[in-house]
Subunit: 117 residues, 2 copies
């Protein structure tokens, strides 16, 4: 089993490609077969399959073959993990800015004389 | 100027490395010099500098050299762009699940006889 850091490596790597993001975009609207996913793409079917393998290995999607049709769908938990990682860092930074703002407000002279020059 | 898709490529690519994520993690607590960032890392200073260049090119951090010291800090807007992209996809998917749940609730027989077997 992958630890969380390796999972994030694979997920961010998977999201770093515009074609793969387009597939995630499509799948966020509902499950789709491989050929449905390939239709709007300007790449060969084997290339689409390869991108889907990267997405599946990252945990962002799962696929299931029924008869001759492979259907793909989003794994929302994986998207959430990536989102949460970024959100926590951004929140830490914003809290730091808030504290800095409070500090500046507290230490500012209350009735600073205006500069009349 | 980079378009949004190329920016996302570079940002997700930058976040796909555990060492670079550790640097973003550190910087989300406040600005730091290159040597402060390098201290907890198990890599050479040139390797740290190379990772920082990737982070800076992605727009996730900015650096400024004053005298002999280069200071790095987070660019919160870039983190927000990446977070927003994921959030929008996840929200789409969740809304779809909600609609599916509503549909199932509406079409379910109201007083289904219990199976007594």
């Amino acid at each position: 089993m992958l630890n969380q850091s390796s999972s994030l490596d694979l997920m961010f790597q998977a999201l770093a490609d515009p074609g793969r993001r387009m597939m995630v975009e499509r799948l966020s609207r509902g499950p789709a077969s491989v050929s449905e996913l390939a239709k709007p793409m300007t790449m060969s079917l084997p290339a689409v399959v390869q991108h889907l393998q990267v997405l599946e290995a990252s945990g962002l999607i799962r696929t299931q073959k029924v008869g001759r049709v492979r259907t793909c769908q989003i794994e929302p938990g994986a998207l959430q993990l990536a989102e949460q990682w970024i959100n926590e860092r951004r929140t830490l930074w914003e809290r730091r800015l808030d504290r800095l703002g409070d500090f500046l407000a507290e230490t500012a002279p209350e009735n600073e004389p205006e500069d009349q020059s």
